[in-house]
Subunit: 441 residues, 2 copies
């Protein structure tokens, strides 16, 4: 109880505790784990910024303190006082010689913390997502996600793009009329946005280079490891830009994000046991393949892809594993792509579009295109796709009033985070995932 | 036609055109305005990065070029070639002696650009929001909004907060069960989030300091100038924090954002004719008033506010005009505040909460509180407010497993942007506003 101490030791964060080596400090946090070894106790504490192992040697501390720590339950909240000591073998490089511990709220023995160090099924963990986030692995993924988002925003801001948030509540669909979530909007029907692109096009005509970055929604009944019903997407759009500009922007963005995560989140990637060698190879330029070449390569690799159909997950993997960096497949058949894509002037049956496939089988992370800028062609496509003319009237306006060649892309944040973290399923890459079967917690 | 020139002049952005003074350049943009004065033409071009005035003297340019520019319609898209010349009297400080102009898409005379320099009604402008964004004023607001959002994110990131996006689709309501937008979620009912706070509380127990930042929704039938049905909110949350920590964080954030906008968006504030003297006065610390004092002050200023009721718009204005910086009103009666707020230990009829009121009559921009951390008290409040127990079970879990004092706040982005821009109505502060009557475009 350090009764001889004149003042309370300073409260510090575990992350920066090394600066207090040799000093007495207080930390506020939770009991992450507890190991007992004869007359020694090794409680591991977490405070949201890091982990530190405490040490108590029975004969050196008051018996009631030893007993208090020995009976401490997982995730009980505590204030710990102790002396910081450098210890190369310990997690984080320091240990804490515990001199006092105050329990703030004890998790009762009869109602213990549900997520124990043993293995749990995924459904159980998802049901307890509000607690699961406290695990080292989930917190590490959260920090990588944070870094990816920050890097994306810094990239666009430094590159002269102006943020223009697209609306979530929309009167019409962008990616087609199926897979829409319907909202009761004061007795009218509205839909949750599937993409901010059409709005970004309007903003691009106002500010030249723009991006929107927010949640988007797909009511897909997909149960694959790459699908969520609610996910975040960044969508840059540039006036006076063609497909080549779109591809250059996309590869520069991805290279920038990878570099930032490698530089600033090395500790988190280590927690995740992510092999970073493949990530170190992500350097400009990225390979570009025409759809024609892609089909040939997939077939040569044993795939069954037919010209004229979109790439499936297996095709993507057969293709991307041939490269050590993301590969950009451009000029797909227009028939498998969205209505707003500009046709290739040389072969109008192709769209001036690009998909970027991540390495290591993580699939498509970016989809983009040059957009149709000709009024009549756009009207024709809207009619062919049987889209509601009235809902798209404002979008068509953009081709009436100073139309210019323009393009952009969308990048799905969760897929990028899954790739960089080496995480199998995107559900771990967003704090509170939404899937066809889950909207809780 | 610069036929003697060996190479095409470089394409440049208007924003950085000063670096090319004396040189021939190309710009890509739109005709913003055109003035004719005898044998002179003064077209003003915009390219999304700025405005520049072109000059054509009839006898110095080919007749067909002069005629092409003279008949150019507003918002037609163009590629302009010309020589940059410093001109102190011109907008932006430079003029362009136009030597060539290529029309990319001419807005037809018989279907002109709908937003002319004359005055338009607000409903007309809102109906043409996709084009209205091109006006100097709207683009300036958009850039201030961009800066506010960037500053907010930089502030939290530099302060050690980890971003944890809250879900948009939720099974339950945070701010009460009215004013909810209902979504058809695979034949089940879901609701659009009104606040990410409850989820931020879960994340704070995982990472210590966190924030969420995304769109939120209120199906309010409010038609005031301060209400939108869809608006963006940033919500920080801190573990091991009390009301004082919340107030200190709130004032630091607002002072930081104001400083950033003043420093980096002076040009935009000038376009908006914003008097920046009141903004220069926003320095730490901000005044703090107890609710009791606030009631007294409102009544002394002629207001009719009764102790025990929430402040209305008029009360807020009567109060905030007594200060030259934002004022923080704390410890409201618990009965007018949300169920999750921690009672004041000295006077339990008060909640440990704070509202920050912006100066100049812009009303509440921040609402925050310390949250209840005691399990039984929270359960009691949930019962008193007749909230669905099952939907809140995960939230209650946070008090079962290592509960700690914690708190945070929400800051509405549109209200902050309205205040900083000196804009009367929040509908101009978001690219595509959603109100009770409007979901288009």
């Amino acid at each position: 109880m350090s009764s001889g101490q004149p003042a309370m030791p300073p409260a510090v964060a575990i992350h920066g505790i090394g600066a207090h080596s040799g000093q007495s400090v207080r930390i506020h946090g939770w009991l992450y784990n507890l190991r007992e070894s004869g007359k020694l106790l090794f409680p591991i504490f977490r405070d949201g910024t890091g982990l530190i192992q405490g040490v108590l040697f029975k004969k050196n501390v008051p018996p009631e303190l030893f007993e208090r720590v020995r009976t401490l339950t997982q995730e009980s909240s505590v204030e710990v006082t102790g002396t910081v000591r450098a210890e190369a073998r310990a997690v984080g490089g320091y240990e804490l010689d515990v001199t006092d511990l105050r329990v703030l709220q004890a998790v009762p023995l009869e109602h213990p913390y549900p997520i124990t160090p043993k293995e749990h099924g995924i459904e159980f963990l998802m049901e307890h997502r509000h607690l699961w986030l406290r695990s080292q692995r989930q917190a590490a993924i959260l920090r990588v996600r944070h870094e990816v988002i920050k890097a994306v925003r810094d990239f666009f801001d430094e590159d002269g793009f102006t943020l223009a948030d697209a609306p979530i509540l929309t009167p019409a669909a962008c990616e087609g009329t199926s897979n829409l979530f319907e909202v009761d909007y004061f007795e009218e029907k509205a839909y949750l946005t599937q993409s901010g692109q059409l709005y970004a096009e309007a903003a691009a005509m106002a500010v030249g280079k723009t991006y929107c970055f927010g949640p988007t929604f797909r009511a897909e009944k997909s149960k694959t490891r790459r699908h969520l019903t609610e996910f975040w997407m960044v969508e840059p759009e540039m006036a006076f830009a063609g497909l080549d500009d779109v591809m250059q922007l996309a590869e520069r963005l991805v290279a920038y994000v990878v570099e930032r995560v490698l530089t600033r989140r090395a500790a988190e990637l280590k927690v995740l046991e992510r092999d970073i060698e493949p990530l170190r190879k992500i350097k400009l330029p990225f390979p570009r393949l025409s759809y024609d070449e892609a089909v040939e390569r997939v077939r040569a690799a044993g795939g069954t892809l037919q010209w004229g159909t979109d790439l499936g997950g297996t095709d993507e993997t057969l293709l991307s594993q041939q490269f050590d960096r993301p590969v950009m497949v451009h000029r797909y058949p227009a028939s498998v792509k969205a209505f707003y894509m500009q046709p290739d002037p040389v072969r109008p049956e192709l769209a001036l579009c690009v998909d970027m496939l991540a390495p290591e089988g993580y699939g498509e992370i970016i989809g983009g295109s040059q957009r149709i800028h000709d009024l009549e062609l756009l009207q024709q496509r809207i009619a062919e796709h049987k889209l509601p003319e009235q809902a798209f009237s404002w979008y068509v306006d953009l081709r009436r009033f100073g139309s210019v060649p323009h393009g952009g892309f969308g990048m799905g944040i969760e897929r990028v985070v899954a790739w960089l973290c080496g995480v199998e399923h995107v559900r771990e890459t967003i704090p509170f995932p939404r899937t066809i079967y889950r909207i809780f917690p």
